[in-house]
């Protein structure tokens, strides 16, 4: 099992969701985060005072999947999120040792879908 974490542009969320549904990946957690990578931040001015490098709004996705869904999920995220410009985001794939469904107590690949 893997946990796929993706940081994407907020305005690509709808496209990513659509691509994921098409790949039959339907379980997803979404949160709003702040951050910046090579894109840097943006300058803001308040009564003439400049504040540089402010963090940008991003969306973070968390998707836990069985091995056979790892590549389709990654492909779907890229399909939905990619604009080709700096700031498109990143995908992290990490091992997931356990997964438990709270309602039933099911464990592992049974619980994940």
């Amino acid at each position: 099992m893997k946990l796929i974490i993706a940081i994407i542009q907020p305005f690509r969320l709808e496209d990513v969701k659509k691509a994921l549904y098409e790949a039959d990946v339907n379980l997803i957690t979404v949160s709003e985060v702040l951050g910046h990578g090579r894109q840097k931040g943006v300058d803001e001015f308040y009564r003439g005072a400049k504040e540089t490098g402010n963090l940008l709004r991003k969306v973070r996705l968390e998707i836990a999947v069985n091995e056979n869904f790892v590549e389709p999920t990654i492909k779907a995220i890229i399909k939905g999120a990619r604009t080709g410009k700096i700031g498109d985001g990143k995908i992290f794939v990490v091992d997931l040792p356990r997964c438990i469904r709270i309602r039933t107590g099911d464990e592992g690949s049974q619980a994940i879908g």
Binding site: F11, L34, V42, E44, F45, L55
Partner: protein, 411 residues
């Protein structure tokens, strides 16, 4: 100065302040509806209009609108308020200083272009917006105002009734909204349904401020503290109440639940519709005007807009033009000389001619404003580009046009 009535003057000054508050009220009404990356953009557009058009008005706008001229536009005799002093001008208001009338009208000239913002929200460049607004005020608002309200204006002479600006303000801004929405194109990602409204409480707050300010707009248009002002005050209130309720009932029936967004939209539609009629109809007429305006606007926003697929983002056309047209025509239906002997009887009292005159005034405004708005848009677009580039649109107007943001996520 002995002709000046202190009660009338006080009421018109207070009304001017009430109408002034409508523009920031509109800013919150609209600002709550946009995505949160664009709220400052909306607030800023409304606020800068207050600054820029106030100056335009005293420098030459008032003269073009109300100054002596031909049937279509005023001359420049009153530019810089030359000759517009503290004595009354009996052509417009015999009991208040001329400048009181001027500043009351200034607030109308300010809010009218602000209404159009709803059509092109979230995607217009700030610099181009300012230029577009000044040109629109000069070549659309001022002439239409002259034709309908000024002495010698040809729509006025035709006998059209427009008490507080149904034609001059709402149909005018509303049709300009449709034209700009069509030529600027849809927002990126728009799919014929509303995009996330980021702060509904702001929308309700804005609507409440509009309702409050509208007493100045309509009752102030009597230009005196008299019975006519009271009639306008009462029918304004009642039509608004009826329209808000009517919208809630429509939603209850057709989409299951009444919404706060719906009831405040209905109330604003009611305010729009009663505007031209406020000095000519009684309270029963006002109830019909209010109940029905929600039906027309609900239909325009819920069915016509998605069907045709234009992105009138905050429904400036759907509320102001549709509601304004109903109000102008309803004036021709429900008007009665019992309320205002200087007015006319409408269709229901056996005077179909008034209805036709109203129809004609609406038609002329629609055509004139649509054509000139289109030309102004194209000129500004050719010179400096009107729409922000896609990257800026995606990041939002707050950060890209003003280098500020309204809300923080952390801290």
């Amino acid at each position: 100065m002995d002709m000046i009535n202190s009660g009338d003057t006080a009421w018109v000054l207070v009304s001017s302040a009430l109408v002034m508050l409508m523009t920031p009220g509109l800013a919150f009404f609209y600002g709550g509806m946009v995505r949160r990356k664009n709220i400052l953009g909306i607030l800023m557009q409304c606020f800068i209009i207050l600054c820029v058009l106030s100056l335009q008005w005293v420098l030459f706008g008032y003269s073009l609108a109300f100054g002596p001229g031909n049937p279509f536009i005023g001359g420049l005799q009153w530019a810089g308020l030359h000759g517009v002093g503290l004595e009354p001008n009996p052509d417009y208001a015999a009991t208040i200083p001329h400048q009181a009338f001027m500043i009351f009208q200034a607030m109308f000239a300010i809010i009218t272009p602000a209404l159009i913002i709803g059509a092109f929200a979230e995607r217009m460049k700030f610099s181009s917006f300012i230029v577009f607004t000044i040109l629109w005020a000069t070549f659309v608002y001022d002439p239409v105002c002259h034709m309908v309200w000024a002495v010698g204006g040809w729509i006025r002479n035709m006998g059209a009734l427009d008490f507080a600006g149904g034609t001059v303000v709402h149909i005018n801004a509303g049709i300009a909204a449709l034209i700009t929405a069509l030529v600027i194109g849809k927002r990126t990602g728009y799919q014929n349904k509303p995009m996330a409204i980021h702060n509904l409480p702001f929308v309700v707050l804005g609507a409440a401020l509009l309702w409050f300010g509208w007493f100045g707009f309509n009752a102030g248009s009597a230009l005196a503290a008299n019975g006519l002002a009271v009639n306008a005050f009462v029918v304004t209130h009642i039509a608004t109440a009826a329209a808000g309720l009517s919208w809630a009932l429509l939603e209850w029936k057709f989409s299951g639940k009444p919404t706060t967004f719906g009831v405040v939209t209905g109330a604003v539609a009611g305010l729009v519709a009663i505007t031209p009629a406020a000095g000519f109809v009684d309270v029963i007429g006002a109830i019909f005007i209010g109940l029905l305006v929600s039906v027309f606007c609900y239909f325009a926003i819920g069915i016509i807009k998605p069907k045709f697929g234009y992105d009138d983002s905050l429904d400036a056309f759907g509320v102001h033009c549709v509601g304004g047209m109903w109000g102008a025509l309803a004036t021709g239906i429900f008007a009665t000389k019992v309320v205002n002997s200087a007015g006319a009887d409408g269709l229901l009292l056996g005077n179909p001619k008034q209805f036709l005159i109203q129809l004609m005034a609406v038609g002329v405004t629609l055509v004139y404003t649509a054509v000139v708005t289109f030309i102004i848009y194209k000129v500004v677009d050719a010179i400096m580009g009107i729409r922000v580039n896609q990257e800026d649109e995606v990041m939002g107007l707050d950060l890209t046009q003003h280098h500020e943001r309204a809300y923080t996520v952390l801290e």
